[in-house]
């Protein structure tokens, strides 16, 4: 079981099972919403429970899915694709130890110009 919460504690999550290795997304949308770039792990929706879900506000950022954040403190928590039965959860919410490691960088073609990616992990342009 992995537990986590937003900054104010209004939204609490529990995920059963291991966390799959997360991706870092450097697309301009994730950069704007996170303030830097975004790292998330994919969870089957039926393995996650959310307490305080009424505090989650959803923003439909594209046809493909919606982004969820805490309406009280603004913590960026979820990316929920319309298709499929998985949801992406921010790694920042989880308590330590997460027992997983970043796997790769995505959308590096849209990376910001003020930082380098130097960790040697695989990078995809999209």
């Amino acid at each position: 079981m992995h537990k986590g919460s937003c900054l104010c504690g209004g939204v609490r999550i529990e995920a059963t099972g291991d966390l799959v290795p997360p991706d870092a997304c450097h697309c301009s949308w994730c950069r704007k919403q996170s303030g830097h770039f975004w790292v998330s792990t994919y969870i089957p929706q039926d393995s996650m429970t959310i307490a305080g879900e009424e505090r989650v506000r959803w923003y439909r950022s594209s046809e493909e899915g919606a982004r969820g954040f805490c309406s009280t403190c603004g913590s960026f928590l979820f990316w929920n694709p319309v298709e499929g039965d998985h949801i992406a959860i921010s790694m920042g919410v989880f308590e330590t130890p997460t027992q997983t490691q970043l796997a790769r960088h995505l959308y590096v073609a849209d990376q910001g110009d003020y930082y380098e990616i130097a960790d040697g992990l695989p990078q995809r342009a999209q």
Binding site: L7, K32, Q33, H36, F37, C73, T98, Y114, E116
Partner: protein, 130 residues
């Protein structure tokens, strides 16, 4: 030296910012509060309040994360935009908000004592425990 205006916005575009002058070299903050709010860790640049113009400020929600600090995000899309000491004359702005080119570069990592366990910091920049 890069002068002029730096523009930016939140994801949905309801909040737009303009900063006069060059952007100070940003810090990456790995404290648990910034990690929770950003979803990973947060990079921001400190701007004199007098150099910042905000359009759509009525769409910003302020959250008092500690006694002397407020964090600001867009109420519509949730973009994490601002970290503001209640006292003092500067405000930190999320680097993700800015249009390219930013004309600046990350300077250091702070609060690495609180960093997450699922990533390494490998860029060779200075690291402060706090």
């Amino acid at each position: 030296m890069h002068k002029g205006m730096h523009k930016g916005s939140c994801l949905c575009g309801a909040v737009r910012i303009a900063v006069e002058g060059r952007l100070a070299a940003p810090d990456a903050c790995h404290c648990s509060q910034c990690r929770k709010q950003s979803g990973h860790f947060w990079a921001s640049t400190d701007i004199p309040k007098s150099a910042l113009k905000i359009e759509g400020e009525e769409t910003v929600t302020w959250y008092r994360s500690s006694g002397k600090v407020e964090r600001g995000f867009c109420s519509t899309c949730g973009s994490f935009l601002f970290w503001k000491p209640l006292e003092g004359d500067y405000i930190a702005i999320g680097m993700g908000a800015f249009e390219t080119p930013t004309g600046t570069h990350l300077e250091k990592h702070i609060f690495v004592a609180d960093k997450g366990d699922y990533y390494e910091i490998a860029d060779g920049l200075p690291q402060n425990a706090q």
